[in-house]
């Protein structure tokens, strides 16, 4: 069966050049990067080269990069590493669960948290952030791009507000990395999370940007790795992979490099063709700036879960909202935060393209989706009732 993968926001395939870069580190270059002998020196050098690549991608200094096990750990390190009893946190209702559940946990421990709502386009209003600040606000954490809708948040404005108020600003940039240019000094953030497996590096590696001068309490205690910010022997192959992926990302980003623009074009074509062929459907987050690879589309009168399964059985992989919440009962908290009713939220699908996605892949999806939606609508009592009313 021909399989087309359009769920890159869940995870991405490791690029061949990334795998190649990693290979020696599973083989002859196996040393512990902290060992003083030759073997350690080799892998230490590889880790530091990777650090430089990641720093270049974010526009920061290598010393400001802390390697972690992924985006979730980076988010946790930022939040738990900064916040103290008596502090107040400002975040948004559309954050990834790694941020939301960390905040919820802190709430249970007595920390006050304000969750800024979003509008119908999935956008946070920076003024809302400013109004939420209190004397004891320690941290503002707002994501750069939402994982479900792809909508880009006004992080530059929020960074400015936080700088003026002298409040730490963390942004979860997991879904923005490698899709749009990131410059930590333009954003004026103090912390920023990235995840390897969203940018064609392997699962199990990520990084947290920590602005020089930011004191973080570590979460992991042990050796003095990562400048005593994150103990644990470095995942050398993973880090090397992340570094290579970052290099590749930098090459294709910014100033409309062909492959970045092309990705946007493919997404736009997928979106417009589906909407042309399917009625009672629309884009969630329409009207807002988005990363170029994502489109979240609602198809009224059907169950999104059934559509995802039906498409999978025909070889097309997509998702309903975030992967971590599959099987969960609540419709997407992101779509709900945008003011969407539960029926439409449950009828929404996320299509997310990757570097490897071709025009043929998009054609395959365009050919499959309208037919599958039509079939489901045939079986849906809701659709017939509604079309009967209109006819």
């Amino acid at each position: 069966m021909r399989r087309v993968y359009l769920d890159n926001n869940a995870t991405t395939p490791v690029l061949p050049e990334v795998l190649e870069a990693m290979r020696p580190y599973f083989g002859e270059h196996f040393g512990n990067a902290s060992s003083i002998h030759h073997h350690g020196q080799e892998t230490r050098a590889a880790v530091e080269r990777a650090r430089e690549s990641v720093a270049a991608l974010l526009g920061c200094r290598p010393a400001e990069i802390v390697f972690t096990s992924g985006g979730t750990e980076a988010d946790n390190l930022a939040i738990f590493g900064l916040v103290q009893p008596g502090d107040h946190i400002v975040t948004s209702t559309i954050e990834h669960h790694a941020v939301l559940n960390s905040c919820k946990h802190l709430q249970e421990k007595g920390i006050e948290v304000t969750y800024i709502p979003v509008d119908g386009r999935c956008l946070v209003d920076p003024d809302d952030v400013r109004r939420a600040l209190r004397p004891n606000t320690r941290l503002v954490t707002v994501m750069m791009a939402n994982n479900e809708t792809g909508v880009l948040q006004p992080v530059n404005e929020i960074g400015k507000i936080c700088a003026e108020a002298d409040v730490y600003f963390h942004t979860d940039a997991v879904q923005a990395t490698a899709k749009v240019p990131i410059r930590v000094n333009e954003i004026a953030c103090d912390l920023l999370s990235i995840s390897g497996h969203k940018i064609h590096a392997p699962q199990g590696v990520g990084a947290l940007y920590v602005r020089k001068g930011t004191t973080l309490e570590p979460r992991f205690f042990g050796g003095s790795h990562e400048r005593s910010r994150r103990a644990g022997t470095e995942n050398v192959p993973g880090i090397v992979g992340l570094g290579k992926a970052a290099e590749q990302a930098l090459k294709s980003l910014g100033n409309g490099h062909p492959s970045d623009v092309e990705l946007g074009r493919l997404r736009d074509r997928l979106e417009s063709e589906i909407l042309r062929q399917v009625d009672s459907a629309g884009v969630n987050g329409a009207g807002a700036p988005r990363v170029p690879n994502t489109t979240n589309i609602y198809f009224d009168y059907i169950e999104g879960e059934a559509l995802v399964i039906a498409l999978d059985l025909k070889g097309l992989a997509v998702s309903t909202g975030a992967a971590c919440s599959s099987g969960a009962i609540e419709p997407s908290h992101v779509l709900t935060a945008m003011g969407m009713g539960p029926d439409r939220a449950r009828a929404s699908l996320r299509f997310s393209l990757g570097k490897q996605t071709t025009a043929e892949d998009v054609d395959f999806a365009i050919q499959l989706v309208p037919a599958s939606v039509a079939r489901l609508r045939e079986l849906s009592p809701l659709y017939n009732k509604s079309t009967a009313v209109h006819s």
Partner: protein, 370 residues
């Protein structure tokens, strides 16, 4: 046997449904494994005496894991579909309501009617499957002369689950497969072993899936507390058959017809719950002989082997799952009412349970005992 192209198998993580999936796959059908996520086992954990962790129950993480591993072993796609909302609405809430009204419910029948053979059939169609197969011990087939789909008792009588399936319609039966109908439990386990399924020895789960440990009173407390509702006060009197008040009770939901323990009164001879009068909050108790009755009335009828009951019919009737079908005559006494007259008096006929009518092995139909 089957001319369905694609079959969805309802997989519970138990050995029966797992074996069904393996069998159908081995026979060359296109099989899709589905587990319905119906109840979050962690939802009431730790409340009001409910166990802290629940494993090995339908919908527990362990069971989904087991089902998924089986799917992987036999090489079929596998999905978990979430219908917690509907289950709560169509099974759990009525369960609570019935107890609070003084009746003893059978959630498994409701689950079959609304979820397993309704919602799941819908999902199956949506994803391109023509039929749903389950691990129920029952048989289904089309009877040409009658022009109707028939539900029949399985070969292994000790595992007969037809009592819970009496509510299935012709449409539902036409799309249902019960591949284990001709097998015994030991044969099924054997077949599971042959297919290399690790869970061939997994013990059966007999209880209500959302009431771990079987203590429904704890469940009622915990569920109502979670909903922010308090247990309604249905405390009242314990009354004898001749109207004498001999004691008090703390709530009608604590009782079921035929119950002997927990009455809190000591008299000469053992007393049994004969009847629960919800409106009056009275629990009528009496001696064993009063537990027997020869008649009952059923409503919300579903007929399977016949389209209509125009004349009285001789059948055997089960009034609960663990009951030997007893000879009786059934006749229609209203538009949705069938009256049952047993040859011999039956013990503890319980409102809320179902009465299922059999013509030999064929399920004629059934209704709810009022």
């Amino acid at each position: 046997m089957l001319n369905h192209n694609t079959i969805a198998v309802a997989m519970s993580g138990g050995v029966d449904s797992s074996t069904v999936a393996a069998m159908l796959r081995a026979d060359g059908h296109n099989v899709i494994g589905l587990t319905m996520q119906l109840w979050n086992q962690r939802r009431l954990a730790g409340h009001a005496g409910m166990p802290e962790t629940v494993t090995g129950r339908c919908c527990s993480l362990d069971d989904v894991y087991d089902a998924r591993r089986v799917a992987e072993t036999i090489g079929i796609p596998y999905y978990v579909v979430n219908h917690e909302d509907r289950f709560e609405r169509d099974v759990v809430r009525p369960f609570v309501q019935e107890y609070l009204s003084g009746r003893t419910p059978i959630p498994c029948s409701l689950c079959n009617n609304h979820l397993k053979f309704d919602q799941l059939l819908t999902v199956a169609q949506q994803i391109g499957a023509d039929a749903v197969a389950t691990g129920h011990y029952a048989r289904v087939g089309f009877d040409e002369p009658r022009g109707r789909w028939l539900l029949m008792r399985p070969s292994d009588r000790s595992k007969d689950q037809t009592y819970f399936l009496f509510g299935l319609t012709q449409e539902q039966l036409s799309r249902t497969l019960f591949p284990l109908g001709g097998m015994t439990k030991p044969e099924v386990r054997d077949l599971a072993r042959k297919h290399g399924l690790a869970l061939a020895e997994k013990p059966d789960s007999q209880e209500i899936c959302f009431v771990p440990g079987g203590d429904y009173k704890n469940f009622l407390d915990a569920y109502l507390a979670e909903q922010g509702e308090s247990l309604p006060d249905t405390a009242g009197e314990l009354v004898t058959t001749d109207g004498r008040v001999i004691g008090e009770h703390s709530g009608i939901h604590n009782f079921t017809v035929g119950q002997r323990k927990g009455l809190g009164v000591a008299t000469g001879s053992p007393l049994y719950v004969l009847q629960i009068k919800g409106d009056a909050r009275q629990v009528i108790v009496g001696e064993q002989e009063h537990l027997y009755s020869s008649t009952l009335l059923t409503r919300r009828i579903n007929l399977i082997s016949v389209k209509e009951l125009l004349e009285p019919m001789r059948v055997t009737v089960k009034i609960r799952h663990r009951h030997e079908p007893a000879p009786a005559t059934i006749q229609r006494t209203g538009s949705d009412e069938i009256f049952v007259t047993f040859d011999d008096a039956q013990r503890a006929i319980t409102p809320g349970q179902a009465a299922v009518f059999y013509d030999g092995d064929v399920v004629v139909g059934g209704g709810w005992i009022s």
